[in-house]
């Protein structure tokens, strides 16, 4: 008898969908979890901070002297480029982290809770965006130490940072999709580099594209990395026109977001 009363039979049909405030609350919990985890993982901090600094030093002092960027000082040429590279590398941690969560069974726990499933991805990408913002600021400071001298006003530099962060955010979703597809951390790492390396290096991030073979040059010109780097260069050191590449970047980002958010959400449901 008593057991029969234990059945919770709701009087009215219960809500089958969650509300927006519930979704936002869930996303916030997920983002807080992620930031807390990052802050306690020294390896992560090394990846996010030390690696980009090494790249700055490598290109400025080892390779930069041999790269001809015309009238522009190489360090001024480099910093906007390396910021975009850092943004993409930072985005790779999104997919990697998700595969670790899948492996640990944490994703199954989240998916079995009465939460908005998309909040797991939204929280995660948002936390990664915050981590990326910190990395970019540190990079910028290191750049200033090694001689980076932006010529444009602060609002323009802030605009460049905003664009690069938007770039990082969108690439977090691509990385999330790839991670959820391959499901294991090792595979996510190698697959990640396969798509990230050509994008980063066949671009104007480190060298002017006009010395590349025609085919690579064609790829570099339409590469969103090039567009974002060129826009950032214009906004930070006044190199060329900003609006063209900036609009091109935004168009790319909008397109990628429309494609990869649903793909990642679907992959998450099936993970």
């Amino acid at each position: 008898m008593s057991a029969a009363t234990a059945v919770a039979v709701p009087a009215a049909p219960e809500r089958a969908r969650l509300t927006l405030p519930e979704f936002l609350a869930d996303s916030r919990v997920m983002a807080a979890r992620q930031l807390r985890k990052v802050s306690r993982r020294p390896v992560y901090i090394v990846y996010l901070l030390v690696q980009p600094v090494m790249f700055v030093l490598l290109f400025t002092y080892v390779l930069g002297g041999a790269i001809n960027t015309g009238s522009i000082d190489y360090v001024n040429y480099l910093i906007p480029g390396i910021m975009v590279q850092t943004a993409i590398f930072g985005a790779l941690t999104t997919g990697l982290g998700l595969t670790e969560d899948i492996k640990a069974g944490v994703v199954d726990r989240f998916r079995s809770l009465p939460i908005a499933r998309s909040a797991v991805l939204v929280g995660r990408t948002t936390a990664d965006l915050a981590a990326n913002a910190i990395t970019l600021v540190v990079m910028l400071l290191v750049g200033l130490v090694v001689g980076f001298r932006p010529s444009e006003p602060v609002w323009s530099i802030a605009l460049a940072l905003g664009l690069v962060l938007a770039f990082a955010y969108v690439f977090s979703w691509i990385s999330a999709f790839v991670g959820l597809l391959v499901k294991n951390p090792e595979a996510a790492q190698s697959v990640g580099f396969i798509w990230v390396f050509p994008l980063t290096f066949i671009s104007s991030a480190f060298v002017p594209t006009d010395t590349m073979p025609a085919a690579l040059q064609w790829f570099a010109e339409i590469n969103p990395v090039t567009l974002c780097v060129n826009a950032s260069r214009a906004l930070m050191i006044g190199d060329g026109d900003a609006s063209g590449p900036a609009l091109g970047t935004l168009a790319w980002l909008a397109g990628l977001l429309i494609v990869f958010v649903p793909l990642a959400a679907r992959a998450f449901r099936r993970a």
């Binding site: 008593s2 057991a3 029969a4 234990a6 059945v7 919770a8 039979v9 219960e14 809500r15 089958a16 969908r17 969650l18 519930e22 609350a25 869930d26 919990v29 979890r33 807390r36 985890k37 306690r40 993982r41 640990a104 069974g105 944490v106 199954d108 726990r109 989240f110 998916r111 079995s112 809770l113 009465p114 939460i115």
Partner: protein
């Protein structure tokens, strides 16, 4: 009248060419522990995933407290707790943070989530370790934390996927006690296990699952009865073995008693446990010395062998 808390009807699921569930039927009565017993690869985890709304089955219908797992996943998730073989907790967070986070995801207010986390940590003996990172926890502590986290929302139905796999005997015993306690509180528990003694100890009903379907179902006693008779084991002085066999022969319901003359041991299948009393009387009447006498029930290992044609241990294939 009791309604089933979990119902599964003709569930099929395949991963590509691999058939994981092949027409599985199941009914779990409210407030009971139901044991799903089978080797690795039998489909246990797949069924748990279907019931936990993590996996949409290829075909078939399943409900939890009357809510369809495919059509009303959110309603199902509000009623279940899931804990498994891999403790799904965050290594870098403390035990308390882990449980509190789940509380927040159940939309408890911060203070309430903290209170609930404190209660559960206390209940699972983790109060002292509560503010240490999980990376410092032992396997048993993680499993307890995982189970604790699955109880935050006070779910009426709990799905436990091999909760004691890989645990040491003491921790296993503790977990068993916790599961008993939960059942006494009215929780319905579906438990998968590869351990026959675990199902025997915890579950009111057991389904033996093999190749994605239920091979047999019943209480532990019923399953044992399916396999056959009890065995009377008598030990005597080796010298008087043949006399003893002569005295006992007509109690044997099987073909022949199995006699180990050198060890003075006689094993004979008997109709029921009362045969042992009769055997003692006869030993008395004939004034034969008796070293020991016992009735062995068939083990669930025997059940598995009879039902599937293979011993349970031989099937450790891919999960």
């Amino acid at each position: 009248m009791l309604k089933p808390a979990i119902e599964a009807h003709d569930i099929h699921h395949s991963f590509g060419d691999v058939v994981a569930l092949d027409g599985l039927d199941l009914e779990v009565e409210e407030g009971t522990v139901f044991g799903l017993l089978g080797p690795n690869g039998a489909g246990k985890t797949t069924l748990v995933k279907v019931l936990a709304t993590l996996l949409v089955p290829t075909s078939g219908r399943a409900t939890v407290l009357g809510h369809d797992v495919v059509a009303e996943p959110l309603a199902v998730r509000r009623r279940i707790g899931l804990a498994g073989q891999f403790a799904a907790v965050d290594e870098e967070l403390t035990g308390r943070e882990n449980v509190e986070m789940v509380g927040r995801l159940y939309r408890l207010a911060p203070a309430e989530a903290r209170k609930r986390a404190g209660e559960l940590l206390e209940r699972f003996g983790l109060t002292e370790a509560a503010d240490r990172r999980v990376s410092t926890y032992s396997g048993g502590m993680r499993r307890r934390l995982d189970l604790g986290a699955s109880l935050v929302g006070r779910p009426p139905v709990i799905l436990l996927d091999e909760p004691t796999t890989g645990l040491d005997p003491r921790t296993r015993q503790e977990l068993w006690n916790t599961i008993d306690e939960l059942r006494r509180d009215g929780t319905t528990i579906l438990l998968t296990t590869q351990y026959l003694d675990e199902a025997d100890r915890l579950a009111q009903r057991i389904a033996v699952i093999d190749h994605g379907r239920v091979a047999a179902e019943g209480t532990a006693l019923e399953l044992k009865a399916m396999v056959g008779a009890e065995v009377l084991v008598v030990r005597v002085e080796p010298a008087s073995t043949s006399d003893a066999v002569a005295v006992l022969a007509d109690l044997c319901t099987g073909e022949e008693p199995i006699v180990d003359a050198a060890g003075g041991e006689i094993r004979l299948p008997v109709a029921d446990p009362r045969a042992s009393a009769e055997a003692v009387r006869r030993f008395d009447a004939h004034n034969l010395p008796l070293a020991s006498i016992e009735v062995l029930q068939p083990s669930l290992d025997d059940v598995f062998l009879t039902l599937t044609g293979r011993p349970a241990e031989d099937q450790k294939e891919a999960a």
